[in-house]
Symmetry: C2
Subunit: 286 residues, 2 copies
């Protein structure tokens, strides 16, 4: 469970740490970044954690550099964890052939189909192994106060991990999430590859629109979707399906903001990350 | 003087425009980015301009994505211009051989030595052609209110362009600037290549530490230098020389902040860009 520090970078009064560890669930060395806000470093306070799950093709670096989460997190006193998006270097045939499957596209599930069942276990990695590793190595982080957010495939990850684990996370939010993967090309390709075509019940277990039907009580989720987002226009995100399912199930607290003209890029995250940190802070400090 | 719009991206309530034009001074097509804040787009107000000059190897993209000037500029109502760092594609022999000379390393001078005198005229490009092009194409920008800032080689550019043109810019600031190029390896290599080894008077005309000796009145410059910056430690930046020269010349208003642990990266700009926008706003709106 030991963590290797590859770099420590001053950022907004705190430190962005570039880290790695040998992960059992994914069967390889995994890189991740962790932002410790000034409240943890200077004031030596115990701080809560916001997990940010990245989208297709990304690593921990993209959002650390371009998402602007450190800005809000440094003001509120929240640590931010940026995991990678898949195992790396498992040498599974074909894992590097497409941008939307395999490397960089773990979809936050535990694969059940060979050969991906040998390490593509991002669900267990993100919900269990990585946080345990982080809590063990960084005593300044309060393991009882964790929220989750993410972008695109990572928005799917944030929603499904939250919905499958009531009480585990204090809050959830998402940017341009894939909310109904069983009904969009990205999700269908991934679930076919990780679960097999016939395993439809398994598919539903990782579909936010299916999961929200079983949720009880308010969800208190903040979702931003840009109306200029090509993947939204192409029907990869389907936030309307999620909204409709939540409404029909009587689930309240679903705040989907359609942001005029905003696209699928990190420029959108940078613009609204303060709002998402604020959203998380409301539940992390209540 | 016509401008081609390659992309328009929603950012912090305004628009980041990716633009290009055929530039006469540099003898090639030049890309640049322009951020129009919401005050110009939504409120249709005339807004002032902050020019951000990038460092070695960078294009207009790096700071647009990672510097977060849009955050502060959107609040204050300031347009931000991100030029490129050199001509591109002139096919001068050797121009792509080094990261610190030629392509991506124009050093904001007009070269006098062949073959670089055929287009490496970033001084004229930034002080005359580009702003004229921008003011002509974007009537919402107030040509009478322009400030300048920059990073590393671009910090050198900001300081020297300001010091050589009293009254042209309302204010100046810089991140990790090369302040005494005639006495550091980066500057010596560049000036040797662009001006020739024997042209020492020309070298001094583009050296901030030499130029500040002739300045009269307060300079009101804000400079941030990270103490964890390897290029600072290696003597490429030499802010102490600039500070000493200013002091000896009786120039006041030199605020150099040595930021503990901060490095030479965009993480530093992201952290302090709000301060530099605030500094510019003080003079742009006075």
């Amino acid at each position: 469970m030991s963590v290797t520090t590859k770099a420590s970078i001053a950022s907004f009064g705190g430190k962005l740490l570039k880290l790695s560890h040998n992960a059992k669930t994914t069967n390889c060395e995994m890189n991740f970044n962790l932002y410790l806000p000034p409240q943890a470093i200077v004031e030596r306070k115990k701080v809560p954690l916001l997990i940010y799950l990245s989208g297709l093709t990304c690593t921990a670096e993209n959002c650390s550099e371009k998402g602007f989460f450190q800005h809000g997190a440094s003001k509120k006193g929240i640590a931010v964890l940026y995991p990678d998006t898949s195992p790396r270097g498992l040498n599974i045939e074909g894992e590097n052939d497409a941008y939307d499957f395999g490397s960089g596209a773990g979809f936050y599930v535990d694969a059940t189909k060979a050969p991906y069942d040998k390490g593509y276990n991002m669900y267990s990695y993100i919900t269990v192994e990585l946080p345990q590793t982080v809590f063990e190595a960084f005593g300044e982080i309060d393991s009882a106060r964790v929220s989750i957010t993410g972008h695109s495939m990572g928005g799917h990850g944030a929603l499904t991990l939250f919905l499958r684990n009531p009480g585990k996370y204090k809050s959830v939010s998402a940017f341009a999430p894939i909310t109904n993967p069983i009904n969009c090309p990205w999700g269908q390709k991934a679930f076919k590859g990780y679960f097999g075509e016939d395993n439809q019940e398994k598919w539903k277990e990782h579909d936010a629109t299916e999961l929200v039907k079983k949720w009880t009580g308010p969800l208190n989720v903040l979702i931003d979707v840009g109306t200029g987002d090509n993947f939204y226009k192409q029907g990869q995100l389907l936030p309307e399906n999620f909204e409709k399912a939540a409404k029909e199930a009587g689930v309240t607290g679903v705040n989907i903001r359609y942001q005029p003209d905003y696209d699928h890029s990190y420029y959108t995250m940078a613009t609204f990350s303060d709002d998402h940190v604020e959203h998380a802070a409301k539940y992390l400090f209540e």
